[in-house]
């Protein structure tokens, strides 16, 4: 009985259910779906300018790379002190 209770407690506190979609994937979908809407609106909406759209997408890509690069950069720099 004690083991069963421990198991039930573990399952109840688990963040992702074995039979369902992990919460993390739901979170990812919720966060990224507005971004997909934004990209579609950028590409298909009017008034349209390929130059500005290209600039917008390039800017997004640049900031994304800077963000990931910053994680790597910080990892490297802090590693020098450890």
């Amino acid at each position: 009985m004690g083991r069963l209770l421990a198991l039930l407690t573990y399952v109840a506190s688990s963040q992702s259910r074995p039979s369902g979609m992990p919460l993390g994937l739901i979170v990812l979908v919720v966060i990224l779906s507005p971004v997909i809407v934004l990209l579609l609106a950028t590409l298909l909406g009017k008034p349209r300018s390929m130059k500005v759209t290209g600039l917008f997408l390039a800017w997004l890509a640049l900031v994304f790379c800077v963000f990931v690069g910053a994680v790597y950069g910080l990892s490297f720099i802090t590693g020098l002190f450890i």
Binding site: P34, P47, V52, W59, V68
Partner: protein, 421 residues
């Protein structure tokens, strides 16, 4: 150049005598922060007041605090664009800059809290494997997306104003503005306005998700008293919006005084923000009340113990000070002001906004620390070390420094004349 543009450009053109000593003071505090962090890096988290039981302290408090501040920019700016609240257009950009600066500091706070930040790259490398069950990674995803979108949201509509700056400066400043304007052409603002509108629509749900995932770092832990709960998301969002809006009131009041922008930032803006702040603070107080009722009358024993520590125990002084002086008093003042048409005191509105911002920092402390020290077993105490306090002070100074530097580089009010509405 119009008179309005001249006024907005004033901080970029002229520098007062007090400016450089102020920047120097902020820079010195920031250097102290870097020094303290270097000690922590080389000697480990043992130099902090944290221990095996109290695993989170003031660094996580700062992280939530900065994330909260970042909500102001998008909340105000998106409201201006989506709901055509053009009256608030003059404060939109200063709020967006606050978003950007505080998000940077929030990211840094997480890095500081990591015992081995040199392994942070593993989050990128193992992203696919961990995203299913790691609230920390959800948070990084949400904050990262928010940061990328906020930066874009700040930059694109600013291109028109940067072009004005480019044309009115010579030398290195002109070259600097030229670099920030790749592919600029006159008349692009129509397309950019459409993009900005869509970005406002996009960023709002991301903003909500950011603080929801921040709350999930705590509220999904079922064995942590006063963290575990379904209402944590709205609770955190209410605190974030309150502290964010209050910060914008303070910044707007300061720049209004510094640059004589009385006509650019009319009292109606402060009245509107003050009213909204009163309502959101009231909602937050209600959520605090609901939380306490649940903990004291229906919660498990652990919840009751932590609630006791908040209300009558070792955290009571902090709790009651922040609740009465930090939240109730400003809320009452702002509500009284809201019901007196034509009466607005900008000084007191900004003073009480400052009080709310400070109270919200301590509220995050009350949320995090007692659950770890008295909510588990064995009981622990936590006192931040001088390293932690220096880092906390330094990160706040760094935020102010980033904001002050941006204030001198970019126009913090949109140069376009706002429509009436």
């Amino acid at each position: 150049m119009t008179e309005r543009q001249e006024k907005i450009m004033r901080p970029l053109r002229t520098t007062s005598r007090e400016f450089w000593p102020f920047v120097l003071a902020l820079a010195l505090i920031t250097v102290a922060f870097i020094y303290a962090y270097t000690i922590q890096l080389s000697q480990g988290l043992g130099v902090t007041g944290l221990n095996d039981i109290t695993i989170w302290g003031v660094y996580i408090v700062n992280f939530i605090f900065f994330i909260g501040l970042s909500h102001a920019g998008i909340a105000i700016s998106a409201a201006v664009r989506i709901m055509s609240l053009h009256r608030y257009a003059p404060i939109a950009r200063m709020a967006e800059i606050l978003t950007l600066a505080s998000l940077m500091m929030a990211g840094l706070s997480i890095v500081i809290d990591l015992g081995r930040p040199d392994r942070a790259y593993l989050m990128v490398v193992n992203y696919a494997a961990r995203i299913g069950a790691s609230p920390l990674l959800w948070d990084i995803t949400a904050v990262g997306t928010y940061l990328i979108l906020s930066t874009t949201y700040l930059y694109l509509p600013m291109r028109e104003d940067l072009a004005v700056c480019r044309d009115s400066f010579t030398g290195w400043r002109r070259r600097m503005y030229e670099i920030t304007l790749p592919g600029y052409e006159k008349g692009e603002e129509k397309v950019i306005k459409r993009l900005a509108w869509w970005m406002a629509v996009t960023i709002l749900p991301v903003m909500v998700m950011v603080h929801t995932t921040v709350s999930w770092i705590f509220s999904l832990l079922s064995n942590r008293p006063l963290w575990f709960g379904a209402a944590a998301g709205p609770y955190f969002i209410a605190a974030a919006v309150a502290s964010g809006i209050a910060s914008v009131v303070v910044i707007a009041a300061i720049v209004r005084k510094l640059f004589n922008w009385e006509d650019l930032l009319p009292p109606e803006i402060f009245r509107g923000l003050g009213n909204f702040l009163a309502v959101i603070t009231l909602i937050y107080l209600y959520l605090m009340l609901v939380e306490q009722f649940t903990a004291r009358y229906a919660g498990p024993a652990g919840e009751f113990f932590v609630s006791e520590a908040w209300l009558f125990g070792s955290y009571a002084t902090v709790f009651w000070t922040l609740t009465t002086i930090g939240l109730i008093l400003p809320c009452v003042y702002l509500l009284v002001q809201a019901f007196r048409p034509g009466k607005i005191n900008i000084t007191w509105t900004s003073v009480f906004s400052t009080v709310i911002v400070i109270a919200m920092w301590f509220k995050r402390y009350i949320i995090i620390v007692p659950t770890l020290t008295v909510g588990g077993s064995p009981l622990q105490t936590y006192t931040p070390s001088w390293i932690e306090l220096t880092i906390i002070g330094g990160s706040l100074a760094a935020l102010a420094l980033i904001y002050t530097i941006l204030l001198k580089l970019i126009p913090i009010i949109e140069m376009e004349e706002p429509h009436h509405g």
